[in-house]
């Protein structure tokens, strides 16, 4: 019987092409694709960095063009219109003066303390802090949170009230009558009740990449608003004299 023989000499010339094919087949999934992904990641990161650099450059350009003195002047004006805090004493005295100047008799002014002792306190005493307090109407919460609420009782006539409200509308510290009611009383004209909302605005907080956050310049609309509020009358620029009391300012200080 003739022994079985395979002649591999004819395949010898295909060894190199086959090896190359195998190498390429292995290179694609194990080197080529990971390498490409890496390049893609670096490219994306570079793109983001470039965008950030652009934002930073733009911001620096804006910052260099701003005049700090001018910003301070405008901010003083805006602060008188919409203060950071409640600035209660000059406000109450100012409103009282406005009412008296409009021939209205001030029967009383009471205020809702607002953020600290209403909304925050009620939310904290609720059994679970995550549960919203059902006793508070959301719109009312927002209203109380962002505004100081003054309940003003006045006595006078309609013309006086008109003058008082017009003065408030032209006052620099912005306020909004939430509810105005007049009831005629024979003896002294009208019993007038005004619920006045005096909004205030705390300093804005920035979140995230604060450094690269774009900085807005004053738009035409902003400039118009500034011009408009500069024409308004400031009725809260009243110096309140401190009254001496027997209350010890710092009980821990040593005499």
């Amino acid at each position: 019987m003739k022994p079985f023989k395979i002649d591999l000499s004819s395949l010898k010339s295909f060894v190199i092409p086959v090896l190359i094919f195998v190498t390429i087949s292995l290179l694609v999934p194990f080197a080529f694709i990971p390498f490409l992904n890496n390049v893609k990641g670096t490219n994306e990161s570079l793109k983001k960095q470039k965008e950030r650099l652009g934002r930073l450059s733009e911001k620096l350009e804006i910052l260099n063009s701003l005049d700090e003195r001018e910003i301070n002047e405008n901010l003083t004006l805006a602060e008188q219109t919409l203060p950071v805090g409640k600035s209660l004493a000059p406000l109450v005295v100012g409103i009282q003066n406005l009412a008296l100047g409009s021939n209205l008799l001030v029967d009383g002014i009471s205020l809702s303390p607002g953020k600290v002792s209403t909304v925050s306190a009620q939310t904290q005493i609720s059994p679970k802090s995550s549960e919203p307090n059902k006793n508070i109407n959301p719109s009312e919460t927002r209203r109380i949170k962002d505004s100081l609420v003054l309940n003003i009782s006045l006595v006078g006539n309609i013309d006086g009230l008109r003058e008082f409200l017009a003065k408030l509308e032209h006052a620099r510290r912005i306020s909004f009558p939430d509810d105005v009611s007049l009831t005629s009383s024979d003896e002294r004209g009208f019993q007038i009740k005004v619920v006045l909302l005096m909004p205030f605005r705390p300093v804005p907080k920035s979140a995230g990449d604060a450094l690269a956050e774009p900085l807005a310049v004053l738009s035409e609309k902003d400039k118009q608003t500034l011009e408009q509020i500069s024409k308004l009358v400031d009725f809260t620029n009243i110096q309140i004299k401190e009254v001496k009391t027997n209350v010890v300012k710092d009980p821990f200080s040593q005499k």
Binding site: S13, I20, F32, V39, E169, F176, P204, L218, T225
Partner: protein
């Protein structure tokens, strides 16, 4: 005369073709390997370029960040100013000019003659409820005509007479609900 004799056996046409394809396969496979190597090298060079660019951009960003931080106070002031002005604009544009509503109601009553206002209630959403007394029907007619006139309807909307009554020998009592239309305290 000498005659050349070919002693090598002649290659068949099939063998010639086979040799040609064998060479071609080898050349193509080596070319493919070289191409892959060149592409890989190209990608590597590109990656190197990207990394260098990224480092340069990061350096520049850090330098600008430093300059921005030096002007941080100015930035905070500007941010606060813009925020406040935006809020002021919103507040002024949404506010109801209640003094104008009071003035209009007062003028309506005055122009109609003997109308006395008993009570008025104005809400921040523009809802107005008015209760008044008219001494006679002519005055009441004049007042109602003034209320529904086209001039008044530019200012007040959805005018509804809620109540009208008169006891014998007494003046007319009426109550009206209206919606005050104007919004905003911004001068145009």
């Amino acid at each position: 005369m000498a005659q050349g004799i070919n002693l090598l056996p002649e290659l068949t046409e099939q063998e010639v073709k086979k040799e040609f394809y064998r060479r071609k396969i080898s050349v193509v496979s080596i070319a493919a390997l070289l191409s892959v190597a060149i592409v890989l090298l190209g990608i590597f060079a590109y990656q190197l370029f990207l990394q260098t660019s990224r480092s340069r951009v990061e350096r520049e960003a850090k330098s600008i960040e430093k300059q921005i931080l030096e002007q941080q106070d100015k930035e905070i002031l500007q941010r606060t100013l813009v925020d406040k002005l935006t809020q002021i604009q919103i507040n002024l544009s949404e506010a109801v000019p209640i003094s104008s509503a009071v003035a209009n109601i007062s003028d309506l009553a005055r122009e109609s003659g003997d109308i006395s206002i008993k009570s008025v209630n104005l809400k921040s959403d523009g809802d107005v409820s008015l209760e008044g007394v008219a001494s006679n029907s002519r005055t009441l007619g004049r007042f109602f005509n003034a209320v529904i006139s086209s001039e008044t309807q530019k200012i007040f909307d959805q005018i509804v007479l809620n109540h009208l009554s008169r006891d014998k020998g007494s003046p007319f009592n009426f109550s009206i609900n209206m919606d005050f239309k104007p919004r905003g305290l911004i001068e145009k």
